[in-house]
Symmetry: C2
Subunit: 271 residues, 2 copies
């Protein structure tokens, strides 16, 4: 396990989580004039550790970390200002095997905890990129993702309204929904995606095919995961596969989430 | 185990640890204008929990807590700005059996960790109170304690100098040293204390006799503890027995410390 300090310079945490999340960073002014912040998640601290200790990733650095994080939210049912996160990451490989291994670890954990009514939703940021290119709103990726991220919570109609309010044209919204509403068996979803946005999202679709073949090799029961083109994940730093675990019929949102983040460390080292 | 929030209102933490310690409290200004502080120890947070949940102490509340604390020090060998503390406390009884049980728990822990070259130093704040009354510098308890607390670290000569610099008379310093230099077998120390300051510190000496009889009942090997009239412990909130564990010949200062704090909770509730 890795442990990182509770406090970080405020500037290190900004520009990485997205605008809405950034408002929740616990920003604190210390008496010596420094602007500090409390740990917002365990990913940015990890990327700093890696940036400062490049030798760790020879060949691959795997770690888990269980520590508190702080978010300046209005406290409400299930949401606290201070809570514990548990992260598993693997650094140093571009292979989709890493993503599949993380998903497999989550699967083992859920089964180990005695859950059986769960589903791992999987998507790829490159598919979302392709989708907004197909809808010809490529410069509005963040707004679109932020809206479709709420699909489960507020329903399709409200997402349409929100997109319209963001000046996304009716034609573009129709195209976006033609992608995010794809559903069916794993192969069907990937085939459909290929048909509609294969020209702009082939890389993402290819990556998901790889993930699927590794998940199969790793013995993951294919009833426990599903490709969901509407899965966006809030944070800005994801670059490849993203995933989320939902408990069926529990109405409590996602209980686990994550994804590949390939460029965060480079923001420190310039590489 | 109990867990308490990392952050507390700054005002709650002040006036409890002593002046030198107070400078190390991580004071932070939050954007909404509130002055916050990071947890400095686990005792003041516990006393707040008890003050807000009086029903917990019927009849006795025992808890352990393992969490991070923060102190704005200059980082150096063995001293960090963020570190983990482990506390064991029992709330709700004035019996010296509680103090003896805590000491016994520390003893079991040290043995359990495989240490054998350790010594538990024990004193009582009421003996220190008596000592300064005997030296007729009763209004200078904190300064005197702060100086003799450094005895092990800087030696007797420098402590004398420091006391002289604080305008403690040569006669008073002599009296103070006649108390803090008492050593010998447990009974000898208590008898000597009784002879010199029995009129002003009888209660403290009586409490240590009780602790000793309970330690004996609890089967604690009497070679592992020692009554040390020079043991002061830095923090202001102690009111009765105080103790500290040193590893012999290791030169690393104390590794465990604590004591009875009877008035801290009353500072919240006015009782």
């Amino acid at each position: 396990p890795l442990e990182t300090p509770a406090m970080e310079f405020y500037d290190i945490l900004t520009g990485k989580y997205g605008k809405e999340a950034e408002n929740l960073i616990y920003r604190l002014d210390y008496k010596d004039g420094k602007t500090l912040a409390l740990r917002y998640d365990l990913t940015v601290p990890l990327s700093r550790v890696i940036a400062m200790n490049a030798e760790l990733v020879r060949p691959i650095f795997k770690r888990y970390q269980i520590q508190q994080v702080w978010r300046g939210e209005r406290p409400q049912r299930g949401r606290y200002r201070e809570f514990t996160q548990c992260d598993i990451d693997a650094i140093g490989s571009t292979s989709m095997l890493q993503d599949a291994e993380i998903i497999a670890a989550i699967y083992e954990m859920m089964i180990g905890f005695g859950f059986h009514q769960f589903e791992i939703l999987i998507n790829n940021r490159k598919i979302l990129d392709g989708m907004v290119k197909y809808a010809e709103v490529g410069d509005r990726l963040k707004e679109v993702c932020r809206s479709i991220d709420k699909l489960e919570k507020i329903g399709a109609e409200k997402v349409r309204q929100e997109l319209a309010k963001s000046d996304i044209s009716a034609r573009a919204i129709k195209k976006i929904f033609s992608v995010i509403e794809i559903e069916g068996h794993h192969e069907t979803v990937l085939d459909e995606l290929e048909k509609i946005i294969g020209d702009v999202a082939q890389e993402g679709i290819g990556e998901l095919r790889e993930v699927r073949s590794y998940l199969s090799d790793l013995g993951i029961n294919e009833g426990y995961y599903r490709f969901d083109p509407a899965l966006a994940r809030g944070l800005d730093y994801y670059t490849g596969p993203v995933f989320e675990v939902v408990i069926k019929d529990a109405g409590i949102g996602s209980v686990v989430g994550g994804g590949r983040w390939d460029t965060l460390i480079g923001q420190y080292t310039g590489k």
